[in-house]
């Protein structure tokens, strides 16, 4: 049965501009809905709507499919309907300064409290000195001190008076007091004393001892009096400080009477100010400490400076009324996510306090939505762990990495954790999602909603209309020239070509936007007011030209005969296979000569690519399928005594994929049948054990690759490509290929079986088994079967000779 070549209309799925009623995209309404992503849209709606722990989102899809824009849009829409989250402030913990406290208050109140506390500090600097410089304070404090002095003086006077009566004086020494016997105002020396009568000496010694005992008792009492006075002074100080601060704090209490946390904090501030009122009494010059080389030395034992001590770190504040926050963190390092405690270097030491706590993205997005690029998170040390820990704990605990790793031993803080109520949306490639699902058990618990973005959608008249609106919307967003309808049609065709499928459209908005930008550039170059089909075509061609240097070199070498590809004549055991080279941003087809050699052997088909470790596993799989096919089709009841070798000639890189397996089979069949193959044909397609041809990828590039070679050498009308019939729907061939086919200069054949292919390649029927189980005489299959049978019988003959020889040997030995 002759295989018909494909008609030109099968080679390219045109988009008819006449189906569009608009003249340019300017006439189109903006597309408000998302097209081609119904699953993703439903998932986003579900994920954003559900308010349970662990229902965070993972938007998976290729980069450029519009994941970010879509999730941000839906999150923003939802956020508008949600309340503004509270403000968070860090304040000094007066009991444990290294554990700053957190205050939560309604939005907007954080900034207000910060301002109010600044004002309070200023007011305290004025009010407290005023009170302590007042006549009242001076008089009362002096009175207390005077009372003590008088009490001590009185006690001392009593001793002095007693001493005087006994002609003894209480006199001052460099370090204390002593009692000395005196006569006429002068102390008695040793000689004077010894000249006194014994009784007098004894009396003096006794009296001195007595007075010393009194003095001792008095001195032992004195510290208690001092303590008493200190306590009274302390009470007085507290009373005066309280009088200075109470009216100021009361005003704040009144302003924040509905905020219990703030009221409690103000109570603590009041107590602390009263306890530390002296800090507000310093004169200007005393506020500055010692300086060394112009650097002020920190004051010892002061803790946080007084001006900072009562300051509010308005950590997270909200002053707008736009609802819950939607935040995207572009650089999700650990610190940028979790927040950090900054330090200030002072004379080689790192100093910090609660005013130096800085928020992270989790803080800023708390109460709303945080969008993160998962790859960036995973690439930042500890960021992924930090994010998961925060989500699991339901709170944000700021810990520095150095602290976490115990790398640095310095003064640091342990800020009170902030409760976390957030929806995290991760954006990433599908393989990252699957890897995390497989290897990170916590991932499934924390990111339960998968938002799976598709990169393609069906191509129907309706979707093409929507696609036109999408193009119009992108043009509007990017501020580009509008497209006329022929240009839109060309963009749609290009979209299908990028997808390698005439029945589908690409939803990869970045690729689409790129081609629109480039077409706009060429329209500008040609002074077109609107982008035309030619501008789009030029954009496509120019893009190809920019990246196809390697393709050109390869084709040039084929033309010059360096890379040996025949496009005419016939060869046995040789076929033109087709492969694609993927350069990342450019894919092109390249013909390869595949050869096969056969001889009698032990049933092994040797894939030389695999033997030298240049063949990938899928390619090897294809070759093993060939052995199975040959054995089961031709010699199902006897051993396959074949040794065959297959090779990609002039291939020096790795070969992967099974798209050449049918070509390899044709080469083998040609060699076995000893029948030449037309070299004007090239083949692509994989084959299964039944001999059916299966679809492959890159069909357009492969056809164009062979066409380009033939075109350079001159199209003869015999040249063509054999492709799997299942690939016909993927055809979106270049215009020049279609024209050549239409002119009968080039042919594309779609086949279903190996028999179809070998018939086309050899011009000889493959042949079907008759009722007797035999292939027709002269057919390819008959020739193959005959060769394999011959090999098998010969092998059996060798085997029986061998057995006889062995048994004779056995006898001899026995």
């Amino acid at each position: 049965m002759a295989i018909e070549q494909l008609k030109p209309d099968c080679l390219y799925q045109h988009c008819d501009p006449k189906q569009f009623e608009f003249r340019t995209t300017a006439e189109l309404e903006d597309l408000t809905e998302v097209i081609g992503q119904p699953r993703a849209v439903d998932s986003v709606r579900f994920g954003i709507g559900i308010r349970h722990k662990g229902y965070n989102l993972f938007a998976l899809g290729p980069t450029g499919t519009g994941k970010h824009a879509l999730v941000k849009r839906y999150a923003a829409e939802q956020a508008k309907t949600e309340p503004l989250p509270p403000d968070w402030c860090y304040v000094n913990n007066f009991q444990q300064p290294h554990k700053p406290r957190m205050l939560s208050m309604p939005p907007g109140q954080g900034v207000k409290l910060e301002r109010d506390m600044e004002q309070l500090i200023e007011d305290l600097h004025a009010a407290i000195p005023t009170v302590f410089e007042s006549d009242e304070y001076r008089t009362r404090s002096q009175a207390i001190e005077e009372e003590l002095t008088e009490k001590k003086e009185q006690a001392l006077h009593e001793i002095q008076a007693n001493a005087e009566k006994k002609q003894i004086a209480l006199i001052r020494t460099p370090t204390g007091f002593t009692l000395a016997p005196v006569r006429k105002g002068e102390a008695l020396g040793q000689e004077d004393f010894e000249s006194l009568p014994e009784k007098e000496r004894e009396r003096i010694e006794r009296d001195t001892e007595e007075l010393q005992e009194q003095l001792r008792r008095m001195l032992q009492e004195a510290p208690k009096w001092d303590k008493e006075v200190r306590d009274r002074m302390s009470d007085l100080n507290r009373e005066m400080a309280a009088s200075a601060i109470s009216h100021l704090i009361d005003a704040l209490r009144d302003a924040y009477r509905e905020l219990t946390e703030v009221i409690n904090y103000l109570d603590e501030v009041e107590k602390d100010v009263i306890g530390n009122f002296r800090h507000f009494l310093r004169h200007e010059e005393e506020k500055h400490g010692l300086q060394v080389l112009g650097i002020e030395l920190p004051q010892r034992d002061e803790g946080i400076q007084v001006d900072k001590r009562y300051r509010i770190n308005a950590f997270i504040t909200h002053e707008s009324h736009d609802g819950a926050p939607v935040t995207y963190e572009d650089h999700p390092s650990y610190n940028n996510l979790i927040g950090r405690v900054e330090h200030r270097a002072e004379l080689g030491a790192l100093i910090t306090d609660y005013t130096m706590i800085r928020p992270g993205a989790l803080h800023r997005a708390n109460g709303g939505y945080l969008i993160l690029d998962v790859l960036k998170v995973l690439m930042q040390p500890f960021a992924w762990e930090g994010l998961k820990r925060a989500l699991q704990a339901g709170e944000i605990r700021i810990e520095s990495l150095a602290q976490l790793m115990s790398l640095v031993s310095t003064v640091s803080l342990e800020p009170e954790p902030i409760p976390l109520d957030i929806k995290v949306i991760l954006l990433g490639e599908p393989h990252i999602y699957y890897l995390l699902s497989m290897f990170d058990p916590e991932f499934k618990e924390l990111f339960k909603v998968a938002v799976d973005f598709d990169y393609r959608m069906d191509r129907t008249p309706e979707t093409q209309q929507l696609y036109a609106r999408l193009i119009g919307t992108l043009v509007q967003q990017e501020d580009l020239r509008h497209l006329d309808r022929s240009a839109v049609a060309r963009v749609i065709e290009h979209s299908a070509r990028l997808l390698e499928d005439g029945e589908k459209l690409l939803t990869h908005t970045r690729s689409l936007t790129d081609i629109l930008r480039e077409a706009d550039f060429w329209a500008t170059q040609h002074d077109h007011k609107t982008v035309t089909r030619e501008d789009v075509q030029q954009a496509i061609d120019a893009r190809t030209y920019r990246v196809d240097r390697i393709r050109e070199h390869i084709q040039d070498e084929i033309r010059r005969g360096t890379l040996m590809i025949d496009t005419a004549g016939q060869k046995t055991g040789q076929v033109n296979g087709l492969s694609v080279l993927d350069l990342g941003n450019f894919i092109f087809g390249r013909p390869s000569r595949i050869t096969a050699r056969v001889r009698m052997g032990d049933g092994e088909v040797v894939d030389i690519e695999r033997e030298v470790e240049l063949g990938g596993p899928i390619h090897s799989k294809g070759v093993f399928i060939l052995s199975a096919f040959l054995g089961t089709r031709y010699l199902h009841d006897r051993p396959l005594a074949l040794s065959a070798s297959l090779v990609f000639e002039q291939s020096y890189g790795e070969v992967e994929g099974d798209s050449a397996s049918s070509a390899e089979l044709y080469a083998l069949l040609s060699a076995l049948a000893d029948t030449p193959i037309h070299q004007s044909m090239a083949v692509t397609g994989s084959v299964n054990q039944q001999g059916e041809i299966q679809p492959i990828g890159g069909v357009n590039e492969k056809i164009e690759g062979f066409f380009d070679i033939c075109n350079v050498r001159g199209l003869t009308g015999d040249q063509g490509v054999i492709i799997p019939a299942t690939n016909v729907k993927h055809l979106m061939l270049r215009e020049d290929v279609c024209e050549a086919v239409e002119a009968g200069k080039f042919a594309i054949h779609a086949i279903d079986t190996v028999d179809d292919g070998i018939e086309l390649l050899t011009g000889i029927p493959a042949g079907q088994r008759d009722d007797g189980g035999l292939f027709p005489e002269g057919s390819i299959n008959r020739r193959v079967e005959d060769t394999l049978t011959r090999y098998s019988e010969t092998m059996q003959a060798y085997a029986s000779k061998g057995r006889k020889g062995n048994s004779g040997n056995d006898k001899a030995s026995s």
């Binding site: 005077e146 001052r172 460099p174 204390g176 007091f177 002593t178 000395a180 010694e205």
Partner: protein, 270 residues
Amino acid sequence: MIPVTEEATMRHIVVTLDASETGRSALETAVRLAAILNAELEGVFVEDINLIRLAGLPFLREVRPWSLGEESVSAQRMQRELRTMARHAEQMLEQAAREMGVHWSFQVWRGPAGAETLAQNFVADIISLGGVSALASWRMWATTRPRTRRFRETLASISVLFSDSEQAARALTTACNLAKDPATSVTVLLPNNRAVDLPALKEKARAILDLHGLPARFVQLSGSGLQSLVQVTGTSGVSILIAETEHPLLLQAGLDQCLEVLSCPVLLVR
């Protein structure tokens, strides 16, 4: 006759050096005055002869008020400690004098401690006295660590014991010289004596004050005894008291007694 060129005649100021608070104030005042009058300052540290003399008595114990420790009084230790104090006093004087650019000298005087004795033994235009009494007093021991003063600080309040004498006029002039800063107030203390023509005395004082362009407060003492003086200086927070050496109140109460009860240094003007 009002002396108007006191600066020219007051060339020698003696100050007793002592570690007590009043002793420091006395030094401050003396240095300040020496700087204003361009006078020579002489610091005197008194080694109480009684301490050396009694040191041999075996039954005596020295009691220390802060540590509550006790030790026998030995002559060697006493002399060593007095030398240490003298050295410290000299350093204090040197530092203060250098800061104000004043010519100074220092001597250790061994004799009976006491202001009166000093006043008799030293010939000087002005004697600035702090705590020089040999008798034990709590005021000698500051209850708190004294704040480090700076000599640029102004005197808050100066009181002058004024009388009809020429020395009293010199005392008031000295006060005016010290009260150059507008923040310093001058109080003229007038005697409580019916025999004195109070308005005339006031007029005389005002004439001196006007000459220096200074305002002053006039306060008449409530009595003729020391108590009335204590009352005034205690309530008004006086920084320094200036008086003539022969003022009847001081003569009557005794200089040592005055210094003991007053909480401020005394500047005696001859």
